[in-house]
């Protein structure tokens, strides 16, 4: 998946007011909560077939760390 498309789709899926960037920190998002975590688990499962655990999400810092968790080779510019 192209990184830009990933950022746009994830922003829409999470219904965020601001557009996600690779350096956006999840915990800085105003409406980041357990519902966001659920939507993120669903989005990653649907698009990459990867299961994120609660601990994985707890340990995510910014969007780049999510991309690394999914696997950098699955993304293109």
């Amino acid at each position: 998946m192209k990184t830009n498309a990933f950022l746009t789709e994830l922003t829409e899926e999470l219904e965020l007011e601001v557009s996600l960037q690779t350096n956006t920190k999840f915990k800085d998002l105003e409406d980041w909560d357990s519902m966001g975590a659920m939507v993120l688990i669903g989005f990653v499962s649907d698009n990459f077939g990867i299961t994120l655990t609660g601990d994985d999400i707890e340990n995510l810092s910014d969007v780049q760390s999510l991309i690394e968790k999914i696997g950098i080779t699955k993304f293109s510019e």
Partner: protein
């Protein structure tokens, strides 16, 4: 010969709690987004003097009022609950006497959550296969609201109280198909009330703990590890659904409706996409009532047959329950004379 599900009734407590009312207590939370994602607009909660058997008795009375069955027809009572009236005696015995059901009846409780109704249908069928039993009254009832900490926004938003009563009867045609079961007790901590039973006593000075985003609970309360339960479901249930289809020798396209435990609309749609079920064949409606544990499948089935005029005799419905335990079970039933 076989067994058939012939009647379902459900009741909610009178007290309704809307998202707008929860918003007053939790003003920071986006309940509009919650409603659009999780699919719940309102839930019902038992009052202080109302317990799970109060609701169960109302559901049973409604069943007798709206069907041709009399109380003397009942041969066996199966009561699925995790909100027992007492630790002992068996709550099903209290229901028998309160409802005036004949004493020539078997009665037992079984402790299961969201997989309970599908277990119950299979158990009822097995009892009827034993030729002395013709009519099994299968009851589900939960009052999880009594276990949830007032400061636990997530669980207060998701769970609601309800009770259902179903009649499973002997039938010339076998309408209750093959059911399968699964268990993974390693996940017992993911949905649990730690205190108050054998392991640890109820502790009046239990410490208030936080989890997720500003939810609070103590070990006397219900605790759910949402991501763990979500992941268990999305990993186990798609392949398990395939197994249930296979053992019933039926293809996805031939199932009139898939009725899964109504846990959360977002998760249900994720499961639907993973399994490859058409939207029209997949029931999602928990706006009114929320996640009522073992009650969601019979409530959804009753609503489905009431609101859908395309149902014909012989239509097959796949039922699937999953949750606390961790426990899951599912099977296929044929709609014949279900009311």
């Amino acid at each position: 010969m076989g067994a058939e599900l012939t009647a379902i009734e459900y009741v909610f407590p009178e007290k309704v709690v809307t998202n707008e009312e929860l918003k007053i207590e939790f003003p920071e939370y986006d309940f509009k987004k919650f409603e659009s994602k999780v699919g719940i607009a309102q839930r019902y909660v038992a009052s202080e003097n109302e317990t799970a058997i109060t609701l169960a008795i109302k559901a049973v009375e409604k069943l007798f009022a709206n069907s041709n069955f009399s109380k003397n027809d009942v041969d066996f009572i199966l009561y699925c609950t995790q909100s027992p009236e007492y630790i002992l005696p068996t709550s099903a015995c209290l229901i028998q006497s309160a409802c005036g059901i004949n004493s020539d009846v078997g009665a037992l409780d079984f402790n299961l959550g969201c997989s309970g109704y599908t277990y119950g249908l299979h158990l009822a069928k097995m009892l009827i296969d034993n030729k002395n039993i013709q009519n099994v009254l299968l009851i589900t009832s939960e009052t999880y609201s009594k276990y949830i900490n007032p400061l636990d926004r997530t669980n207060r938003s998701i769970f609601g109280d309800a009770a259902t009563a179903s009649m499973v009867t002997y039938s010339e045609s076998n309408c209750i198909g093959e059911f399968l079961f699964g268990t993974d007790g390693t996940g017992y901590k993911d949905l649990i009330i730690k205190n108050g039973a054998g392991h640890s006593q109820f502790n009046p000075s239990a410490t208030l703990k936080s989890y997720g985003s500003e939810n609070y609970y103590t070990d006397n309360n219900l605790y759910m590890n949402g991501p763990a339960v979500f992941n268990f479901t999305s990993e186990i249930i798609p392949a398990f659904t395939e197994k249930v289809l296979k053992i019933n020798k039926i293809e996805i396209e031939s199932i009139k409706q898939f009725i899964f435990h109504q846990a959360n609309a977002f998760m249900l749609n994720l499961l639907r996409r993973k399994i490859g079920i058409d939207k029209a064949q997949f029931y999602v409606d928990l706006r009114d009532g929320g996640n009522t544990v073992s009650n969601t499948i019979p409530i959804a089935l009753k609503r489905y047959i009431t609101n859908n005029n395309t149902i014909q005799k012989g239509d097959e419905v796949l039922l699937m329950g999953f949750g606390v335990g961790l426990s899951w079970s599912g099977g296929v039933i044929k709609i014949n004379n279900l009311k």
